[in-house]
């Protein structure tokens, strides 16, 4: 019996793909610069089938990669040449919704936005809101500890996952966490979330739901200099307010967003700041008075306050579309998501501007100012020989800059394949070795998502990058 025949005992032909044509859609994730062809793809429909697939891999020492919707921006769900790809899109059921306990239990292929949709009738929602939320899966979100625009106040995915049923790399099943927010031993679940698929596959995930805020106060402020927007953020923080979101866009991003969705932004602005308060109506009303005062004194030359839900959505629409809109300005781009301490934002931005000039490549900036999470978009043309390499080099310099300023190489997109070479910039050999020891204790043959996160190992060749197919189709946009 061949390897594939053995796998065929557990998966019918429609859910075991191995012909080259069937494999093509699985060769990359949203970091299209990397490509690899797996031996086969299986599409399990149950926990037991995931166990079978993982056991098969363990028996034959075949490396495997779990995949949700393949929207990873760091090559996290890139397959392994000759390995197995375990596609979880068919495990997409909502298993339980308990509005009283404010809990949703889902299969890993359940889509992020659908959690909030299912909870909406009860006045509840699922807080983590990556821009990819109309397509990305809870399994992928969990593996990458994904974020969004509202992380400062309510945290990332990890702060909203209560429990997970996990298939370990040897095929054994464990349950981590519980329905309680509290715990009486080490936080094993906390370690599993964000482990980028290296420690096992989640097949059932318990999520925490929050009550929807009663009201919002959304302010859009325009500045004639990027630094002024940065200083405004510092002033908001100094005033003791804790907004749900604080976002900045620079002129290139504004131009792109306007061209794409006509959000009605002041076009000539050098920087736009969006600040959003949320919560109980009397509290938000009182906070708004302080916020408006702070913004007025921050040197904004134009300030708009959303007067209705529609106006609020319009402000956010431009922001959420900014990423893919930048794609209109350039055939190709790379996005980074390094983090710097908030007080270093100004310094980081002027340094990026200097690097941009030196490399002769335009960089657009759209970022989560509240938590110092930059999202520089490096524009290049893949058809011009050497430009991709130059763009990659510039991206690397930006990551080093973030670390040098006391920050991190990634705020929410994960290390994956793309940033693993930069891990030693942030961590010492002893730090990485401790993480590797944990990995090997659970996966001695390094089968689960082999070759990711840790430096070393051969990287697949770079191809010309471009937007994710779903972005080209206008279904999702980046943040």
């Amino acid at each position: 019996m061949t390897l594939l025949e053995e796998l065929g005992r557990f998966f019918p032909p429609g859910r075991l793909l191995h012909k080259p044509g069937e494999l093509v859609p699985y060769e990359s994730d949203a970091l299209t610069a990397f490509r690899a062809r797996p031996l086969a793809v299986v599409l399990p429909e149950s926990h037991e089938e995931v166990v079978q697939a993982v056991r098969w891999c363990a028996r034959h020492r075949i490396p495997y990669v779990a995949r949700g919707s393949g929207t990873s921006l760091s090559g996290g769900s890139l397959p392994i040449d000759g390995g197995l790809l375990i596609g979880l899109n068919r495990m997409n059921k909502l298993l339980r919704l308990d509005p009283q306990e404010r809990i949703a239990v889902v299969e890993p292929g359940f889509i992020n936005l659908q959690v909030s949709n299912a909870a909406a009738p009860y006045g509840l929602y699922y807080a983590p809101d990556p821009s990819s939320q109309p397509v990305s899966t809870i399994g992928g979100n969990l593996a990458f500890n994904s974020g969004g625009a509202h992380c400062l106040k309510y945290g990332m995915t990890s702060n909203h996952v209560l429990g997970a049923k996990v298939v370990l790399p040897d095929g054994e099943t464990v349950v981590l966490g519980s329905e309680s927010l509290e715990n009486t031993g080490p936080d094993w679940l906390g370690l599993f979330v964000g482990s980028e698929g290296l420690l096992g596959i989640a097949t059932e995930i318990t999520l925490r739901l929050l009550p929807k805020p009663e009201t919002y106060h959304t302010v859009l402020a325009a500045y004639d200099a990027l630094e002024k927007a940065g200083e405004a953020v510092a002033a908001v923080v100094a005033s003791g307010l804790l907004p749900g979101a604080m976002e900045i866009m620079d002129s290139l991003a504004i131009e792109a967003a306007e061209a794409a969705v006509r959000a009605g932004y002041p076009r000539e602005a050098r920087a736009l700041l969006i600040v959003e308060l949320e919560g109980e109506a009397p509290q938000v009303e009182a906070e708004a008075r302080y916020l408006d005062e702070v913004i007025r004194r921050s040197g904004a030359y134009e300030v708009r306050v959303a007067q209705s839900a529609e106006e609020r959505l319009k402000i956010w629409k431009g922001r959420k579309a900014a990423f893919s809109a930048v794609g209109r300005l350039s055939p190709d781009y790379i996005v980074q998501d390094g983090v710097v301490p908030r007080s270093r934002l100004g310094q980081a931005l002027s340094e990026i501007e200097r690097l941009s000039a030196r490399y002769g490549l335009r960089v657009a900036n759209v970022f989560h100012a509240g938590d110092g999470n930059l999202h520089p978009l490096i524009l290049y043309n893949g058809r011009v020989p050497g430009e991709l390499e130059r763009a990659e080099e510039l991206a690397g310099e930006i990551l080093r800059l973030c670390v040098a300023l006391g920050g991190s190489i990634t705020g929410e997109h994960g290390v994956g394949m793309e940033k693993k070479a930069y891990m030693p910039e942030m961590f010492s050999e002893a730090d990485l070795e401790a993480m590797r020891r944990i990995r090997r204790a659970l996966d001695p043959f390094e089968l689960s998502n082999r070759g990711k996160m840790f430096p070393g190992g051969e990287a697949p060749a770079l191809h010309q990058a471009g937007p994710h197919p779903l972005e080209r189709a206008g279904i999702i946009s980046r943040e």
Partner: protein
């Protein structure tokens, strides 16, 4: 019994390499956890003390693990900030390291989350004497395994904490507390569920048996009166109002966790489990925090009896104070994942209370 007093991470490394079995002690505010078993060398961590980095504009505080909570809280308060997980036992001398290792949060965890939600970075010495750093010093970071979270509740079994980084938040400019008594537990629980599922943002949502809800509001002073009225209307009762210094004192006292005689125990649970537990616990003084997810109780009998009781309720607990052979009680939470991770960080079992 040997007691060592390291004052630097290097000295902690040295001590770990030189001794077969070691136990960290912060200041001993949770003696059930920090009293050594036979053959354990005690590392008194208070020598690793002091705030390393704090810029209020960053919402980040970095401090050595032996720093007393009280010192950290005082510094934060000078800048109108606080540790949002609201750790208990500060007045009794609890340290940051002991708080993380024991995984303890207090009543105000209701608003923004517990220790696990606010720990950003960690430096620790593993069972081989290696100094390891993970996480970061910025409020958002997704690089590498989340070892900071792993250390929450690790009880010194996975590593000796030497430095910790936390996210901090602005403290509400004004607070007020409403104590609402209900005729029966069922009615109190019904109100608890309704409040927890509503957009009303409470800093504390405690259930004080037999049937009182203690609700803490925080925010801008000018908005508080209107919010209090809305809260009263929502629960349908006027309740008793606590304000000003009396209110602050009420919560300060509570965080001493001096609930009554006997063992001090923490239990993790969900509100659904409260009715059955209330039947079983009898007269043991207790308080449920964070909308029924966290219980602290005083147990004045044999811990073995509570252990059996919790098992019957499918619950796990942690004894913080009082003589006991075993700090972790109730249902067994051991599993392959945990055993393997522990073996990876402490292959020779140096941090285990019982030799391997």
């Amino acid at each position: 019994m040997t007691v060592l007093h390291p004052t630097s991470p290097a000295e902690v490394q040295e001590a770990v390499r030189a001794h077969r079995r070691v136990l960290a002690r912060g200041g001993g505010s949770k003696p059930a956890l920090s009293t050594p078993a036979e053959g354990q060398t005690v590392l008194e961590m208070k020598g690793l003390s002091g705030v390393v980095e704090y810029d209020p504009g960053e919402y980040v505080l970095v401090a050595k693990a032996g720093t007393p909570l009280a010192q950290v809280e005082e510094l934060l308060a000078q800048h109108g900030q606080y540790l949002p997980f609201d750790p208990p036992l500060a007045e009794q001398g609890a340290t940051l390291g002991g708080t993380v290792a024991a995984g303890l949060s207090g009543p105000m965890r209701q608003r923004y989350g517990g220790v696990r939600d606010f720990i950003l970075g960690v430096q620790f010495v593993d069972g081989e004497g290696q100094l390891v750093r993970a996480g970061g010093k910025v409020v958002k970071n997704a690089a590498g395994f989340d070892l900071p979270k792993l250390m929450v509740g690790s009880l010194g079994r996975l590593g000796l904490l030497t430095e910790l980084a936390f996210k901090v938040f602005p403290y509400p400019k004004a607070t007020a507390t409403l104590q609402v008594a209900f005729p029966r537990l069922e009615e109190a629980l019904e109100a608890l569920y309704r409040l927890a599922g509503s957009p009303i943002e409470l800093y504390a949502l405690d259930l004080v048996p037999p049937a009182t809800l203690t609700l803490r509001l925080g925010g801008l002073p000018e908005a508080l009166p209107a919010r209090l009225e809305r809260l009263r209307a929502f629960v349908g009762r006027a309740g008793d109002l606590l304000e000003g210094e009396a209110e602050a004192q009420y919560w300060r006292n509570l965080k001493r966790l001096e609930l009554g005689e006997g063992h001090l125990v923490k239990v993790a649970l969900t509100p659904r489990q409260i009715p059955a537990l209330e039947q079983a616990l009898g007269s043991a003084p207790r308080r449920y925090m964070s909308a029924g997810h966290l219980l602290y109780l005083a147990w004045n009998h044999e811990p073995a009896r509570l252990d059996a009781l919790l098992r019957l309720q499918n619950l796990s607990g942690l004894v913080l104070k009082g003589p006991t052979h075993q700090a972790r009680i109730g249902i067994d939470l051991e599993h392959t994942f945990g055993r393997r991770v522990a073996a990876a960080l402490d292959p020779q079992g140096r941090f285990s209370p019982t030799p391997p």
